[in-house]
Symmetry: C2
Subunit: 140 residues, 2 copies
């Protein structure tokens, strides 16, 4: 969803867009969008102003925002499940596996982010326009 919102903002080329409009595109509720925008603000990806006639816009050009930044901004939980209960420390494997898996998963997540870094928001917009002839220029 984060990428969707940011893509709309990129599409609007710096115009301020309200959470209600963004919610309309994502087909969700403005409050959901605002909560997401808070995360994106913290990551310095968007700028938001309150008040009449305001809204949000990208804080950088779409070519200078890559999807790894977006991923990190909204990443809620680890992509790999950690068991709810602690492993049995009486078992030698259970006792020591956590540290090992953390290493392996950190490496995998790093590989994921390296790949996401290759795509910018501008790239996403380009792909959308290429794959969808109708998406010419700013509409609703």
């Amino acid at each position: 969803m984060a990428v969707h919102v940011l893509a709309v903002l990129a599409y609007k080329e710096g115009d301020r867009v309200t959470s209600a409009m963004l919610a309309g595109s994502v087909n969700t509720n403005p409050v959901i969008v605002r909560r997401l925008l808070l995360s994106l603000q913290r990551a310095r990806l968007v700028e938001t102003r309150k008040g009449a006639g305001s809204g949000s816009r990208l804080s950088r050009s779409p070519g200078r925002i890559n999807l790894a930044e977006v991923y990190r901004a909204v990443e809620a939980v680890e992509p790999f499940a950690s068991p709810a209960r602690k492993a049995n420390t009486a078992c030698p494997v259970g006792h020591c596996i956590r540290k090992t898996l953390n290493q392996v998963f950190a490496s995998a997540e790093n590989a994921l982010e390296r790949d996401l870094e290759k795509t910018t928001l501008a790239g996403v917009i380009g792909m959308i326009k290429a794959s969808c002839p109708g998406a010419a220029k700013k509409a609703g």
Copy 2:
């Protein structure tokens, strides 16, 4: 959890291990382990037999099972959230973004799996033994 179970099986070097024993190491319920083992069986990573004195073991040597296979065997949902509701097709971005994001996410997931491929179960066991002096050889 899947990696944990497989690590125990690798640690036991081909001995058959019951779901109750595996559950003991992971500190969970045998039924949970059995459900997981079904996925691993479908992926031809473990062999399981019923009956007294039976249980599960790896169907290949630990050096020939990598974590990408494990990931694919137990992968339940897409790692990237898809919105519950469909995007608003009246918005040009909403209309066409899904296909684009699927491409990007497929690439990212591929990068993830390429990285996981680099680690085998034997590697995991080696890391555990290295990081944890107590994990010498088969205990409980």
